[in-house]
């Protein structure tokens, strides 16, 4: 963790922070490699002076090939099951692969490798096999102001879906929300000897900017963070939704309501205690999740609260999710999709008259 004064601090974007985390760990450990579609781009065209054309979906791997070369920065063909499987095999045999699956929407093309192979290998082999694997996935729907027309990325390129990963015992799933914790969680993920999924919100990549120390540091996996103190209720947010919760908390302050905000940060293993302790102090909770509701992480957290903090609750446990629909294309429809501060406030007002 940061020790303060000694470190040089600059403002970086979320994507730049991820990039720096990967770069530092690649310098530190030659076993760390990066794989994925177009994570460099222009593969095999160095002789034409062309390298590093893309840098991945979030541009988080840009520049790595220039420093570490094509042996450690591998563009892959479009074969998610194959290259995630290769990463699994590489992790079992001495490498520490960081593999990018462009969008979580493509999880269906490599799900077996994640849920049957990476997640279970250590357990099934009685603890013999280690699995130092990081899988990066961009997720999320365009939020914010509705445009008058046009559209977003549509039903197959806008999903959130992390609950289908968090559901699997053995997988760790982290959801950074700021440039600072993006870097720290990524370094923790790379150093972890088990499989860690890093969910990277598409619309935080460039938008979330913040102070980031130059040196390597870790943000521990399995810890939620109270990002705002409050006493009247708890708002619990995941990924970009933590920012929405903060926005809502700000507005509530204006009407004299003091909201505590918990940024979940890790979905699996979930840091129940931080959430439960907060609720036991505030007696009310709204969980905000960009994913669709059924079997979502919002419902999961709500259920844990209803089971373990029931006696402290003064009101129903509220969840705010995307609607139970695919993501629509048209901007006017999409604008209704992602939970907003307004919807969080509506939920709060149902709890607190």
């Amino acid at each position: 963790m940061s020790t303060g004064a000694r470190l040089a601090i600059r403002e970086l974007t979320f994507s730049q922070a991820l990039n720096e985390a990967i770069r530092l760990e690649m310098r530190r450990d030659p076993a760390v490699i990066v794989m994925g579609e177009d994570i460099a781009g222009a593969a095999g065209r160095a002789h034409l002076g062309m390298v590093d054309a893309w840098g991945g979906a979030l541009r988080a791997t840009r520049g790595l090939i220039t420093e570490f070369g094509p042996q450690r920065v591998l563009d892959t063909p479009i074969s998610e099951m194959g290259f995630v499987g290769a990463a699994v095999g590489a992790a079992m045999t001495g490498l520490r692969p960081i593999v990018e699956v462009m969008f979580v929407d493509l999880v269906g093309c490599c799900y077996d490798q994640l849920m049957n192979q990476a997640a279970k290998m250590h357990y099934m082999t009685g603890g013999q096999v280690r699995m130092p694997l990081v899988v990066r996935m961009a997720y999320g729907t365009r939020g914010g102001k509705p445009q008058t027309y046009g559209g977003g990325a549509g039903a197959q390129h806008s999903q959130t879906l992390y609950s289908v990963l968090a559901h699997i015992p053995g997988l760790k799933v982290v959801v950074p929300s700021t440039a600072y914790n993006a870097k720290g969680l990524m370094i923790s993920a790379i150093r972890d000897d088990g499989p860690v999924i890093v969910m990277e919100h598409k619309f935080l990549g460039a938008a979330a900017k913040g102070n980031v120390p130059e040196e390597p540091y870790t943000v521990p996996i399995g810890h939620s963070e109270i990002v705002r103190r409050g006493s009247d209720l708890t708002l619990c947010g995941i990924g970009r939704m933590s920012h929405v919760c903060l926005e809502a908390a700000q507005e509530l302050e204006a009407s004299g309501i003091s909201a505590e905000v918990v940024d979940v940060l890790t979905l699996a293993p979930l840091d129940e205690n931080t959430i439960l302790e907060s609720v036991r102090r505030t007696h009310r909770i709204v969980v905000v999740d960009e994913d669709t509701p059924t079997a979502s992480m919002a419902r999961d957290i709500a259920a844990r609260v209803a089971e373990q903090a029931f006696d402290w609750l003064d009101a129903p446990v509220k969840t705010v999710n995307a609607p139970e629909t695919p993501v629509p294309f048209a901007a006017v429809l999409e604008a209704q999709y992602v939970p907003t501060a307004e919807r969080v406030l509506d939920a709060v007002h149902e709890l607190i008259g």
Partner: protein, 330 residues
Amino acid sequence: MIDRPGQEAIPREGLLWMYERMSLIREFEERLKWLVETGVPAGPVHYCTGQEAVAVGVCAALEAGDWIASTHRGHGHCIAKGADVRRMMAELYGKSSGTNRGKGGSMHITDASLGMLGVNPIVGMGVTHAVGAGLSSKVRQSKQVAAAFFGDGASSQGAVHEAMNLAAIWKLPVVFVCENNGYADATPVEYAVAVNNIADRAAAYNMPGLSVDGQDVLAVWSAADAAVRHARAGEGPSLVECKTYRYYGHHQGDDPHRYRTVEEENAARERDCIQRLRRWATTKKLISADELDAIETKNRALLDDAVRFAEQSPLPDPSELLTDVYVAEP
């Protein structure tokens, strides 16, 4: 353009239709590009400019009742199969008059009544759906044929291998059309694919495979026509690889000069499929330059109209967010 066996059988109307469709696709993409670059928020779009001959040559070999499965780069396939450019443009504007009522967008444009199994941006999946359509044709003995478009990048997807093996063992009426435009995003085909000609993989499924010049609409048509006849006769699937080129970046935001040279682009433009058909048909005096100019003028007007239609169409009602989640409400 080389003379092709059977091409004398293409009636003048056939040539005119090919020219008209290729020109309409070109006009659609160029207009869309202009709109996007001047601020129309059409979502992610993948222009197929340069590749028109593949869509048109293949669809020229199909009948109205046949199916196509398409990719994220699908505008050309849709237009070649007969889609209404007004409703396509309205879809890109997210309007309720769009092909998909504004709920799909560029990567999902579908007019099911025209045998479109859908534009599908999960690379490779459309190919499996075409195999299913072929199965449907065989079980229902309807003699319909399904053509599956997919890219050079998609050829590495396991689902495509599985689909080809299925079509082969069941002898399904499917034509696999690989649009090899040299790139998957920023990844060159010679890096990503272990063979020189993707068509050579046909042997792995015991089916005919042919690699053709995808900038020559008659070559594409000729190969597709043979494959469609083969399929319709119950002889099973074929693989046709069309070597083509996309003139622009992978999507509207991509600068291709980070991974390919201007020289390569210029060489590809020399082989422009529309100009080649024009040169060939006018040299052979099958069609006059005036006729072709008139087609282009008409297509420009169609696009003017399409944009007007899209602009003037109403937005979807907010309640549409929640409709059509289930096919039959429980």
